[in-house]
């Protein structure tokens, strides 16, 4: 299963790769990273359904924000599961994300236990 992670912080890649090293080792999981909303849209491409099964996106990014990305992605790929990860755990962001069709909402620092549960439910 291919998962796309969108965050402007580059170290997120190392963190995720280590956290999911076992899953990646036995090819259960494939991780793809994008460092901006624009890059994420490029990776998702135009083919529907996309090769990516699940997208996790940061909200607070320069340029296109995670919420904008969410609505664009949901518009283009209504079936793609998207969850938001943000340092802002406030209800306004949460509500907006849920209203735009987000699957879940994770706050930073990321609780990988719940994140893994979410992913495992799909595996």
């Amino acid at each position: 299963m291919k998962i796309l992670i969108v965050d402007d912080e580059k170290d997120v890649e190392i963190l995720f790769r280590q956290k999911f090293r076992k899953e990646m080792k036995n090819d259960k999981l494939q991780l793809v990273f994008a460092f901006s909303g624009e890059e994420a849209l490029e990776i998702l491409g135009d083919t529907n359904p996309p090769s990516v099964m699940y997208m996790f996106s940061d909200i607070n990014m320069p340029g296109m924000t995670g919420l904008e990305l969410l609505s664009k992605v949901k518009h283009r790929f209504p079936d793609l599961k998207v969850s938001m990860i943000s340092a802002y755990g406030d209800s306004e962001n949460h509500e907006k994300a849920m209203n735009s069709g987000a699957q879940g909402f994770f706050t930073k620092p990321i609780d990988f236990e719940s994140l893994k549960q979410e992913i495992n439910s799909l595996l």
């Binding site: 296109m64 924000t65 340092a87």
Partner: protein, 500 residues
């Protein structure tokens, strides 16, 4: 004997007459008057021959003798002495004449002519002395009057002088009071200024807080998760060692090492943010130190962006840092320059956000908010200087407003949104560092924030900071510098298009 009465009357009258310079002695007023009246009465009686001739002679003689006696006896009557001198020859001659006529009637006839002549001379003497005396008296009187007048004049001048002195004292007191009041007002204004500067600092700290929270959450996320994952990796490594797969164990150990470096890196990042926040709020610790302006610009660009994002959910903008990699460190007060950058960047984000709102409200498309912070080295009068620009692609600042934006309390923001002190303080800070803060609108290629997506009607704003790497202006202990004279951006041309 009538002559003696007449002389008595003349002298008495003379003494009873007051002039400007002569006052009749009070105790002599009545005696003199009585003497005069009795002389007149006796004279009248004699004329009508009512009295015995002999008695009459004795009376008149004693009267004139008494007169002469009191004049010489009492100094207060010495005014009468010249009169006595004038009439004395006449009196003596008359007396002599009478005595000779009485005792020596035989020789009287042969002497009579001489006596008459002497009498005439005596009369002439008396009259001329009287006249001379009078004239002298008059001249003296005029002199006296003059000196009196002078004295009065002097008195009047002194009085005027005293009055003037009092007035001068009053005025001096009033002016001193006014000066003290002004001084107090000045002191109050100075303390108010300091309070405002502090309030402005606190306000910008408030703007920063949300950005700081976000900026700390991110490194904390890495610190927590990298330490957690390292823990897991250690377990895995132990498993691999037990299995005997040393290669895999080594690979895991390398990962752990990377993770620990990441933890340290992000720990420091959080530390720097907190330190920066403390420095920002500190009141009087203006210490110059070699500062990486690029790092400062980058840090405040992020803090500003995240701060605004946290405050306003609808806010969004693209930003770019275009920093010259070879920019040397500049000797500045980092928190002060940080405040300037924060201020300019906040303003830029505010401007593009307002512009984006207007587009949204008008239902128009085609505006992509953009803020650019760029640094470069320029040559100014042969000296290398740092040039930092903060540019946006919003509508720009009208020319009429440009000359006012560095004035204290000037703000284009709605009431309550801006203190109007940010740019004014920024200007002062840059001036204290021996630099320049300039503003300009430049559509097109001059403004790096303007790209092909910016509508042509947007002029954009560019703020330009010119900073010497070594500050030649002596820096006061605090940044609350005396407000500098606002110069218009006349030197802007000097700094444009002049990369090293």
């Amino acid at each position: 004997m009538n002559l003696f009465y007449i002389v008595t009357i003349i002298i008495a009258y003379y003494l009873t007459k007051s002039t400007l310079t002569y006052e009749v002695p009070a105790q002599w007023k009545n005696p003199l008057r009585w003497m005069m009246i009795s002389a007149i009465v006796l004279l009248t009686l004699n004329t009508v021959s009512l009295l015995h001739n002999g008695l009459h002679k004795i009376l008149s003689l004693s009267m004139v003798a008494g007169m002469i006696f009191v004049i010489f006896k009492y100094p207060e009557l010495k005014r009468g002495r010249p009169m006595v001198y004038a009439w004395l020859p006449v009196i003596i001659l008359w007396l002599l004449d009478s005595l000779i006529a009485y005792f020596l009637p035989a020789t009287y006839n042969s002497w009579e002519d001489y006596l008459d002549v002497a009498m005439v001379f005596a009369f002439i003497w008396a009259v001329s002395l009287w006249v001379v005396n009078n004239r002298q008296k008059k001249a003296l009187e005029i002199e006296k009057v003059k000196s009196l007048e002078k004295e009065q004049e002097f008195k009047a001048t002194s009085a005027m002088k005293a009055a003037l002195e009092v007035q001068v004292n009053d005025r001096t007191a009033a002016l001193t009071k006014q000066k003290n009041e002004l001084q107090r007002t000045l002191n109050e204004l100075k303390s108010a200024q300091n309070q405002l500067i502090h309030a402005e600092k606190m306000a910008s700290l408030g703007e920063l807080t949300a950005g700081i929270a976000h900026e700390i959450q991110n490194p904390l996320n890495f610190v927590n998760n990298f330490s957690e994952v390292s823990n897991e990796l250690l377990d895995e490594m132990n498993e691999e060692i037990e299995k005997g797969d040393l290669e895999e164990a080594k690979a895991i150990a390398r990962d752990i090492k990377v993770n620990l470096e990441k933890i340290a890196h992000h720990g420091k990042r959080a530390d720097a943010i907190v330190k920066g926040m403390l420095m920002h709020s500190r009141n009087n610790a203006a210490q110059q130190s070699p500062t990486d302006l690029n790092a400062l610009a980058d840090e405040y660009l992020r803090l500003s962006y995240h701060g605004l994002r946290a405050k306003d959910k609808s806010f969004n903008a693209n930003f770019k840092a275009d920093l010259a990699a070879d920019l040397p460190k500049a000797n500045v007060v980092p928190q002060d320059i940080g405040r300037v950058l924060l201020n300019l960047i906040n303003n830029a984000f505010y401007a593009v956000n307002e512009c984006a709102k207007q587009y949204r409200e008008a239902g128009k498309e085609g505006y992509a908010p953009m803020v650019v912070v760029a640094s470069s080295i320029i040559k100014d009068k042969g000296i290398d200087k740092a040039k930092i620009i903060v540019a946006d692609n919003a509508v720009g600042i009208p020319n009429a407003v440009q000359s006012k934006i560095f004035q204290p309390f000037f703000t284009t923001k709605p009431t309550g949104e801006g203190t109007g002190l940010g740019l004014s303080l920024s200007y002062d800070i840059i001036k204290t560092h021996g630099g320049e803060l300039l503003v300009d609108n430049h559509a097109g290629k001059d403004n790096p924030a303007i790209d092909e997506r910016t509508p042509v009607t947007n002029k954009g704003t560019v703020f330009i900071i010119i900073l010497p790497f070594e500050n030649t202006v002596s820096l006061p202990n605090k940044t609350a510098a005396a407000p500098n004279k606002r110069t218009k951006n006349t030197r802007l041309e000097d700094f444009k298009n002049k990369p090293k």
